[in-house]
């Protein structure tokens, strides 16, 4: 139901009672091209009412293009997009009455005090925003009598936050909202967003900082090179089948010499992991430390290798594969969101060339 033609995995974040309602954002095969340059391609996305939805991807992945297309700031090349059941192009004005938008970079007219600017913005809405402007400014510590051009980036961003929230919108679209905000203001900002969400507002939160997405979002879409590559719940992403597996390979006191054993184990591990489906971001670190005392003066070299990779798949298959190796150590841990993100984001053609003796990174296997 939710996701993308290119989405990896499924969305099973559960229902919240809002599934019978019209989606806050519904995007079908949305495409935007800038001449020959890529914008976004066949983006499919459904944001349910009442959720805080993260939209993550590196700079230039297409987050802002998607948002700007939704808001009618740029025109789509193809596909369909609706907000709260209204068509993004045909019903743009009605949509904008119910949307609060905070752009990544906030610019305003020169020579205006924040108070006058917000008053001008408030004049476009049918609700009286005076009290809300005062309340939000107090909470964010914003001096309304200061001219916007004299404000720091962070304070201009605060003006943007007040402007985006003052009319109590049903959908709040935040494009890289925390840049320029100090940690205390970030905290106040997140509190405000959570309050708005409790009030019933839906939030689309675009960011390339995973920790803040993790902090506030229910679900997240990952965009890469203009395409959605996955839509997941944040909780699911963190406890998903994707695991960070680290195994130690080396001299386990077998019949072969240490170097031979470790070299053989590394080769076996490399071949095994490379042939397994679900293995990504494989890295082999081989250390060859020759010493004369480590084994009681035999003069044998101590070679150790560490293999580390992300694994998403049948855990029995993984355990069976590991059982066939001679391991000195094993660790299967929950990956950080950063690693999960890289797991989805890493371009498929990417092969890093590193000296074999130092580190070997094997591209995605079995896909």
């Amino acid at each position: 139901m939710v996701g993308s033609g290119d989405a990896v995995g499924t969305d099973d974040a559960g229902t919240d009672g809002a599934s019978d309602r019209v989606p806050a954002i519904d995007v079908r095969r949305l495409t935007k091209r800038y001449g020959r340059a890529r914008g976004i391609e066949d983006v499919n996305l459904t944001v349910r009412q009442g959720e805080i939805f993260g939209f993550i991807g590196p700079n230039g992945a297409g987050k802002s293009t998607t948002i700007r297309t939704l808001l009618g700031l740029i025109r789509k090349t193809g596909g369909e997009a609706s907000i709260l059941g209204l068509d993004c192009e045909r019903d743009r004005t009605r949509i904008l009455e119910q949307v609060g938008y905070l752009p990544s970079e906030v610019f305003y007219y020169d020579g205006m005090k924040a108070r006058d600017l917000l008053k001008y913005a408030a004049g476009f809405y049918r609700v009286d925003c005076t009290e809300r402007i005062r309340e939000l400014s107090e909470r964010l510590g914003l001096d309304l009598d200061k001219k916007v051009e004299d404000m720091s980036l962070g304070n201009r961003k605060k003006v943007g936050i007040v402007q985006g929230l003052m009319h109590r919108p049903r959908l709040i679209i935040l494009d890289e909202p925390t840049s320029g905000l100090d940690p205390l203001v970030q905290r106040a900002f997140f509190d405000l967003i959570r309050e708005e969400n409790r009030r019933g507002a839906t939030v689309l939160f675009s960011s390339h900082i995973l920790s803040e997405v993790q902090r506030i979002c229910d679900r997240v879409a990952i965009i890469r090179e203009g395409r959605i590559v996955a839509v997941r719940s944040v909780a699911e992403m963190r406890r998903s089948a994707v695991k960070r597996v680290t195994v130690g390979l080396g001299d386990a006191g077998g019949p072969m010499s240490g170097t031979e054993a470790a070299g053989s184990d590394v080769d076996v591990a490399r071949r095994t992991f490379a042939s397994m489906s679900g293995v990504r971001s494989l890295q082999l670190d081989v250390t060859d430390a020759r010493g004369g005392t480590g084994d009681g003066g035999s003069g044998r070299g101590n070679t150790a290798a560490t293999a580390s990779f992300l694994y998403e798949g049948d855990c029995n298959e993984l355990i069976a594969a590991l059982a066939g190796m001679r391991l000195t150590d094993v660790e299967i841990a929950e990956p950080t969101l950063e690693e999960v993100f890289m797991h989805y984001y890493q371009p498929e053609s990417r092969v890093e060339s590193v000296p074999e003796s130092a580190s070997l990174q094997v591209p995605e296997a079995g896909r």
């Binding site: 309602r21 700007r68 700031l73 709260l84 059941g85 209204l86 004005t93 904008l96 990544s104 004049g123």
Partner: protein, 293 residues
């Protein structure tokens, strides 16, 4: 699927209309307020140029006819044509014709600057995102801005007409002035309204089409001076057909003073060009993409 949620918050058509009108008024008043200082400076400049030329320079020219004639005779004909000088400058009507070129230049620069400022305000401040995510159709924003620009041109023109009429009353004892009926003089002075609207349209279209507006005054001056220089093209070449690319000459002041009318063809040309520029500007404004800064 759409609509339960949407319909509960959708206003009636009449409410929506009233709301759109009040938003358009909101933008209109904001533009007038933002543009108040440049408007006052421009209008006062225009009035000062008018009073200096008509009430200050004209009597001096008239009273020192012989010495001025000597100076004019020394001008190469093309040079004199470039500045609009001829033997006629010793009559009130002739001096007004001469002055109108400079008054048109002032109005052209002013109106073009207002067009650039009003329609390029968001572009210059990088605040297009701010305005275009407000719940108001872009076409309505354009119309509100145009109304503000036209208001400034009309008010400045009315102030100018009043200044010309007041100056005219000072020359009751000048037969060359009294030979021209006030309505004809007012009609001739109304040419500034036409020039104002035309150059406002040029400014508006330029503001919408340019990616960046580095200098409002620089672009406006370039437009005005170019228009001023094109006036001499038909005079220097003797080819009347060049009037078609000389906007100041579309409003024939001589025709208004002598016959109480403008040439319908050129007036229509001016109207078509102004409307075409404003319409093209509107299309570009409504359909234009707002790239991230």
């Amino acid at each position: 699927m759409t609509t339960m949620t949407a319909s509960t918050t959708t206003p009636s058509r009449s409410n929506a209309h009233a709301s759109l009108t009040s938003r358009a008024m909101h933008v209109f008043l904001f533009e007038l307020k933002s543009q108040l200082r440049p408007f006052l400076i421009g209008t006062v400049t225009l009035l000062a140029v008018a009073v200096l030329l008509l009430a200050g320079a004209y009597p001096i020219y008239r009273d020192s006819k012989s010495s001025v004639e000597q100076v004019i005779d020394g001008f190469p004909p093309q040079f004199a044509a470039l500045f609009g000088v001829n033997d006629d400058v010793f009559s009130f009507g002739g001096f007004y014709r001469f002055s109108s070129l400079y008054l048109m230049l002032t109005m052209a620069i002013m109106a073009c600057a207002w067009g650039l400022a009003v329609f390029g305000r968001e572009k210059r401040a990088k605040a297009t995102d701010f305005l275009f995510v407000m719940p108001m159709p872009r076409g309505a924003i354009y119309a509100a801005k145009l109304a503000a620009g036209l208001t400034m041109v009309v008010v400045a023109s009315l102030a100018f007409l009043a200044a010309v009429a007041l100056t005219y009353t000072r020359f009751r004892d000048d037969s060359t002035a009294t030979s021209i009926a006030l309505p004809r003089l007012i009609l001739a002075a109304s040419s500034l309204l036409g020039v104002g609207v035309l150059f406002l349209a040029f400014g508006a279209l330029t503001a919408v089409l340019l990616r960046r507006i580095r200098s409002v005054s620089g672009i406006a001056t370039a437009f005005g001076v170019f228009g001023f220089m094109l006036v001499s093209l038909p005079e220097m070449t003797g080819e009347d057909k060049y009037r078609i690319i000389s906007p100041f000459t579309w409003f024939n002041v001589s025709e208004a003073l002598d016959h109480g009318r403008y040439e319908a063809g050129y007036l229509a040309l001016a109207a078509v060009v102004a409307v075409a520029c404003l319409a093209a500007g509107a299309v570009a404004y409504v359909r234009g993409e707002v790239r991230a800064e």
